[in-house]
């Protein structure tokens, strides 16, 4: 890169050795700049959000009425499977890695990520992994349709997998390697690249939550890679890890999968907590309440995530002692999570609040995530879980914790930082319209699914008994409104990058934001290179109670 010296529009930086990006499209392929890679991740995640969303629209269209309307059952099941895989591994996780790439170096006063070339590689490996996964849609027998959990024996049966299964497995390998490399990079950046003046307990919560998430990724992605490798060898090399005929046990797969799977759900929610803890104090114009308890709560949730996995499989036939242990251990998670919710509420308490779009999304997150948490508590009760298991109740639960939580916070992060990144203000009116359409339609979409689940409608079915018709129709209508509303977000992102309202934003963008975090002390739009000289002092107002 050092060979590419151009007289570039980088007038802010006085460093004479500074250089801008490479010219043309090649810039995006060879870039090692954390901002470029962050942009790539975020745009890729946005594209995948619409791909996964289109699959969800197919699902909701089919479920609009009982009976088979548009797609055959195998394709329907491919849609539920692929929707989940694309959203988890293609949209939510990469979006947070994109945010980490942009924000972590800015927030800790580092010039770039610790391992910039590996950073580039992990992005392109993600693209390769997702393309490999998407290619299965065009294969004989169709895309994987045994559910995103890839449970054997279903996933091993020739009739349900066609030719797609090995491609899905290799795709998981690539996605796993990509996330592990991203995680290693984030840990190295936070540990080694932090400005000298910033102690661990000075770090913004977004940095803290990502640090802990990165450790979760390194700990569990390899386990998932191992589990799918076992599936692969069972299928093609006559091993019998999960094959009962050879002395294996399909239940073993569930244990290994959920040993990965449960931390995985926190991989998607902990950075969400971090962003919420960053946005809420700015618009409440108060320091974050309970900084230290937030850090410890994040750590506790991460630890607990490793010892509760079997609550995903209460109905598999566990000893009573196991059911009780996993039930109580799961309930304990509500304590640190409750600490967080109360802290956000206390941060807003008596604050001089304003309600710009990022704050609206964040408040909706606190409320709706809490609802998702409560249904989670209901399902943690082992005896009642037998009623909810594999019904639309669980679908409603995890969508509440993912859509109006992770996805809303990603939107909030977009509105919050886009003006800083681009130097342009987004259109507040359209932003608020996007918010209100989203928050109303997401509830029309997912709330009725609680009723459907309690009434006994199973998940992953293309057709259903007529008594479920009304709520399904309402849910589908909500789904269509939600889906179409997201085009507003796409419009706003493009519009803001192109110039937005034309209003020149200040360095701080939001009132007194510089008191909360370092990135707001830099010029807007951000120059291509930042913190070539580390900051000498860091804001500590947000961590008042930690000192």
């Amino acid at each position: 890169m050092s060979a590419v010296v151009s007289e570039h529009d980088d007038h802010h930086a006085d460093d004479h050795h500074d250089h801008g990006p490479a010219k043309g499209l090649l810039r995006w392929i060879i870039t090692t700049n954390h901002k470029d890679i962050g942009t790539l991740y975020l745009l890729f995640a946005l594209a995948m959000f619409f791909v996964g969303g289109a699959m969800a629209m197919v699902i909701r269209a089919e479920l609009f009425e009982p009976g088979l309307q548009f797609v055959d059952p195998a394709f329907f099941n491919s849609m539920t499977t692929m929707h989940a895989l694309v959203m988890v591994f293609g949209a939510v996780m990469p979006a947070f890695v994109g945010l980490a790439n942009w924000q972590i170096p800015l927030m800790i006063g580092a010039a770039d990520m610790a391992l910039p070339r590996m950073n580039n590689m992990s992005f392109w490996m993600l693209v390769a992994g997702v393309l490999l996964l998407a290619s299965t849609l065009f294969m004989e027998g169709g895309a994987p349709n045994g559910g995103w959990t890839l449970y054997p024996p279903l996933v091993l049966q020739p009739i349900t997998v066609g030719k797609a299964m090995p491609f899905a497995v290799f795709s998981v390998h690539l996605l796993g390697i990509s996330s592990i490399m991203g995680a290693i990079n984030i840990i190295a950046t936070i540990f080694n690249m932090r400005a000298k003046s910033m102690k661990m307990m000075d770090m913004p919560l977004f940095v803290w939550t990502w640090l802990i998430t990165a450790f979760l990724l390194i700990a569990v992605m390899p386990v998932f890679a191992g589990a799918v490798t076992m599936l692969l060898t069972d299928k093609f090399f006559h091993t019998s890890f999960f094959n009962a005929a050879g002395g294996g046990d399909p239940v073993l797969y569930q244990h290994i999968f959920w040993f990965f799977g449960h931390p995985e759900v926190y991989i998607m929610i902990l950075p969400t907590f971090g962003v919420a803890s960053t946005i809420i104090p700015v618009f409440a114009r108060k320091p974050l309440f309970g900084y230290a308890s937030m850090v410890w709560a994040t750590g506790s949730i991460a630890f607990l995530s490793f010892i509760v996995w079997a609550h995903h499989m209460f109905t598999v036939g566990m000893p009573i002692a196991g059911e009780l242990y996993f039930m109580y251990a799961t309930m304990i998670i509500a304590v640190p999570t409750g600490v967080k919710v109360f802290n956000w509420t206390a941060t807003m308490w008596k604050g001089a609040m304003t309600f710009e779009t990022p704050m609206l999304f964040s408040i909706a997150f606190v409320v709706l995530f809490t609802m998702g948490g409560f249904t989670g508590l209901m399902m943690s009760i082992a005896p009642t879980d037998f009623q909810y298991h594999d019904t639309y109740f669980i679908v409603a639960h995890f969508h509440y914790t993912l859509v109006p939580a992770s996805v809303f916070i990603l939107m909030a992060a977009g509105y919050f930082w886009l003006p800083k990144w681009t130097g342009h203000m987004y259109n507040e009116k359209i932003g608020q319209l996007h918010f209100w359409l989203s928050v109303i339609s997401v509830n029309i979409l997912f709330f009725p699914q609680h009723f459907l689940g309690l009434a006994g409608m199973p998940r992953r079915i293309p057709d259903y008994a007529v008594q479920f018709a009304d709520w399904n129709m309402i849910s589908s209508v909500g789904g269509f409104i939600f889906g179409i509303s997201q085009l507003l977000f796409l419009y706003i992102v493009i519009d803001t990058i192109k110039g937005g309202t034309g209003e020149k934003v200040s360095d701080e963008v939001w009132e007194d934001a510089a008191q909360h975090s370092l990135e707001w002390t830099l010029p807007s739009p951000l120059p291509y290179h930042t913190w070539t000289t580390p900051p000498t002092s860091v804001p500590t107002e947000h961590v008042l109670d930690a000192h």
């Binding site: 024996p153 049966q157 390899p222 006559h238 244990h255 290994i256």
Partner: protein, 180 residues
């Protein structure tokens, strides 16, 4: 980035790669760990290899109790067989020996090696269901279109806890020809 910092970063990255590699190994280590944990007495699991042939024991027949044994026969998807038990249900006293015949036929024109895997419901009862003779102890080889009548001789250990009145025993035949 200074050279020292670069080295420090690479060093840390190497360590973390090792952690990731170790966790990959841990995923595989869960397989034997799972087997060991499932041997614990309080884990109610019926493992096919744990249900072994037991020597004939003279139990005192408990005429006061009657246990209903239900038989289920299933075929794994790709197993081209006919398979059923001579009876769907049997009432037995604990301590009493019984023989039930199972009938299986290879529907293909080729030799088939198949294995029957047992499963109990409730799982805990598997410990008290003692088999003297069973076609499930080993793989069965069927010639083309061959039909076999296969006996299974068993006794219910009278120590079976009082809570259990019905035991469902299911056999699934898996076609293992290709794995040979």
């Amino acid at each position: 980035m200074s050279e020292d910092l670069g080295k420090k970063n690479v060093k840390l990255a190497r360590k973390l790669v090792l952690v990731a590699a170790a966790m990959f190994g841990f995923g595989y280590a869960l397989v034997p760990i799972y087997d060991v944990l499932c041997e614990w007495k309080w884990i109610e699991r019926d493992r096919p290899d744990a249900i072994k042939q037991v020597p004939i024991a003279a139990y005192k027949v408990d005429l006061a109790r009657e246990i209903t044994i239900e038989f289920m026969t299933t075929l794994n998807e790709s197993t081209a067989m006919e398979f059923h038990a001579e009876k769907k249900q049997l009432k037995v006293h604990p301590g009493e020996y019984h023989t039930v015949n199972f009938y299986a036929k290879n529907l293909t024109d080729k030799v088939m090696v198949a294995r029957a895997i047992a499963s109990f419901s409730p799982a805990l009862t598997s410990r008290y269901f003692e088999k003297i003779e069973c076609f499930c102890f080993s793989e069965q080889t069927f010639k083309a279109k061959e039909a076999k009548t296969m006996p299974m001789r068993f006794v219910i250990n009278p120590e079976l806890p009082k809570d259990y009145e019905t035991i469902t025993l299911s056999y699934t035949f898996f076609d293992n020809t290709e794995i040979q």
